[in-house]
């Protein structure tokens, strides 16, 4: 019987998008059955048009080319710049884009479950998201994770 991986994806930033999609696509390649449950800000990872960003603000561990004081990080354009810099690095280093990893997940049969409660909470509509999603709640996730070999909260 196939091993199972259950993931809760709760982050909606560019850097936060990597662990769930990267582990899910790799697990699928290793023969796992995989479900990712997207909740709260993680729902942003399911939008038709991804517009993920990374911010140095409140993230003192983010490597910067030159030290940027916190007071400067709040200036308009800093988030845009940090995101642009990160995306350029991703390309330079041969790291897959989130769009590609998400496509691979879908192609390899990873089940993407959107938390219906958060969809309601944020007034999102199913039309905002890519096709082929399952909409469910806590019990949907727990039923799967109860028999999973690996369960991750990200």
């Amino acid at each position: 019987m196939a091993k199972k991986l259950a993931i809760i994806a709760s982050k909606g930033t560019l850097d936060g998008a990597y662990p769930p999609f990267l582990l899910a696509s790799t697990a699928a390649a290793l023969g796992f059955e995989v479900k990712i449950f997207f909740t709260f800000y993680g729902l942003q990872l399911l939008r038709k048009e991804l517009n993920l960003k990374v911010s140095p603000l409140g993230n003192p561990a983010m490597p910067m080319p030159v030290p940027v004081p916190t007071i400067i990080q709040i200036l308009p354009g800093m988030e845009w710049f940090a995101t642009w810099m990160m995306k350029r690095k991703i390309k330079q280093k041969g790291v897959a884009s989130i769009e590609d990893l998400r496509d691979i997940c879908v192609e390899s049969g990873v089940e993407l479950v959107a938390c219906q409660m958060t969809v309601d909470l944020f007034d999102f509509s199913h039309d905002d998201f890519i096709d082929g999603l399952t909409y469910g709640g806590a019990a949907t996730f727990l039923e799967f994770s109860s028999t999973a070999d690996t369960t991750l909260y990200i």
Binding site: L22, A29, G31, A96, I104
Partner: protein
């Protein structure tokens, strides 16, 4: 380096792309055929054996040449 049937060069690509591409290449091969996988991602020294073990495609050979890692994987029966 022993003989192989298919060569896949993932130079410049980072984790997990070499694994994902190897998986795709092996899916198109028949049991017993050999894949020569070239990787520059250094994590592959651990990742390719793990991939081999979990997918039942035996890793026959590992070597390093010109700063690149070379693996020979045999497509398993399953």
């Amino acid at each position: 380096m022993s003989t192989f049937d298919v060569e896949l060069d993932t130079s410049g690509l980072n984790c997990p792309l070499p694994i994902l591409k190897a998986r795709k290449a092996l899916a198109d091969m028949s049991a017993g055929q050999r894949l020569h996988l070239i990787v520059t991602d250094l994590g592959a020294t651990q990742d390719i054996p793990a991939f081999s073990k979990m997918t039942g495609n035996p890793l026959l050979e590992t070597s390093e040449q010109d700063g690149k890692l070379h693996f020979i994987l045999e497509k398993g029966a399953a």
